[in-house]
Amino acid sequence: MSNKILTLLLFFSISLSGCASSSQQVSDVSTLEKYNRAMFSFNNKVDKYVVRPVAKGYKAVTNKYIRTRVSNFFNNIDEPVSAANHILQGEFGGTGTNLSRFVINTTLGVAGLFDVATSLGVQKDKTSFDETMATWCIPDGPFVVLPVIGPGTPRSVVGFVADGYSSPAYWVAHEGNDDAMSAYYWAVGLKYVNLMAENITFLESLEEGSIDYYEAVKSAYLQNRGRLKKCVKKDDVTETPNFDFDMDEMDYN
């Protein structure tokens, strides 16, 4: 699974309003699961008959070079959002990195089309409001599947919306006329299609290799959220990685 897939999953995140209690975290209750499965099935049909054909068409008329420029452009627009979130997380070094990258790529990188900053050794350090809330110890909530958008949690949705509204691209469009706002929505659509086009083969192989695609996506999505920064409490001790769960041969002999 690539980073882009994970970004894709996060990108899809939108949710129910409000945050769930911590006791609901990670597992969804049976009534919610019934809804989730029904919505997942609906999304799959939308994906199969609308999204994938569009993404395949886009992939057919573009090459890797163009798709990389598109993805660089959107990544560059997101740098100020990461910079603001790094401030909220108290990580000012990260803010400096994001702003340096934004200035370098916007100027030398021709409006962000080329990632000159990485070539100069200023590596990506992306973060989000979802991650900011994680560092503030705000619980994630249950797994939910939203119409068209896909898998998420209440916290990921709040983060997604907050990041969207704090994006400079949104505010530039918002301050402009209707055409500017339409252009913004087309750009968001392009970002989504570009992301799908880059990951379509992987998604198809994931579905083909699953016996319960919903459960596979849910499990992978929730595990992947473990990579987000966590809040540090006084009693916390250094832990082994959370994927270091017990896999003892003796259990199965």
Partner: protein, 197 residues
């Protein structure tokens, strides 16, 4: 007295060797060879799909402990299954994985794994070999290989990609399927039989 001391020493050294910690360097070397053969020599080569699958099957079954992974993914249902169901499941699980993974490895085409040392596991017999793979223009993806020492022979028992454990994901998926299937384990076997056909 001296003899007893030597016997005791020998006894403890035998005990020690039975529970020896995994050799990290060997584990790294094993994954280096696996990625080199799997990615560079198979995926990147221009051999036919049939030949690729053939070599991949050999590589996959030799380096991955699919018997153990199969047992692990069935979770509590492993003990509920009868011997014949257990045997059939392992055989189908192996077949299904070889089939799907040879396709999934195509994702790594043209890419080279960068080795980033090891991380100890809570089990001294196991170690995580950390690698990274460049993905497009983004940050490299983290791929961790959980390697276990099976009486001197090293085997991969899990692959963790960007914090997602494939063994854990499969376990969640398979156990959820069995719990929802009216036929239980038999329902899973029927599904797998269709998939590997």
């Amino acid at each position: 007295m001296k003899k007893i001391f030597i016997y005791v020493l020998v006894f403890f050294s035998i005990i020690q060797s039975g529970f020896a910690d995994i050799n990290k360097e060997k584990a790294v070397l094993m994954i280096e060879n696996l990625t080199k053969e799997g990615i560079e020599d198979i995926i990147n080569s221009n051999v036919s799909v049939e030949d690729k699958n053939k070599v991949f099957r050999k590589l996959f079954t030799e380096n991955l402990d699919l018997d153990f992974i199969g047992k692990y993914v069935l979770g509590r249902y492993w003990r509920q299954a009868n011997l014949s169901q257990q045997k059939e499941f392992i055989a189908l699980y192996k077949e299904f994985n070889v089939k799907t993974w040879s396709k999934r490895f195509d994702e790594f085409k043209g890419k080279e794994f960068v080795f980033k040392g090891t991380t100890p596991s809570s089990n001294p017999n196991q170690v995580f070999v950390n690698t990274e793979v460049p993905v497009g223009d983004g940050k490299p993806a983290s791929v961790k290989w959980r390697v276990s020492d099976k009486g001197g022979k090293l085997k991969v028992i899990d692959i963790i990609i960007e914090n997602v454990s494939l063994a854990q994901t499969a376990r969640n998926e398979y156990t959820a399927f069995i719990s929802k299937s009216p036929k239980g384990i038999e329902g899973l076997l029927e599904n797998l039989r269709q998939k590997v056909e």
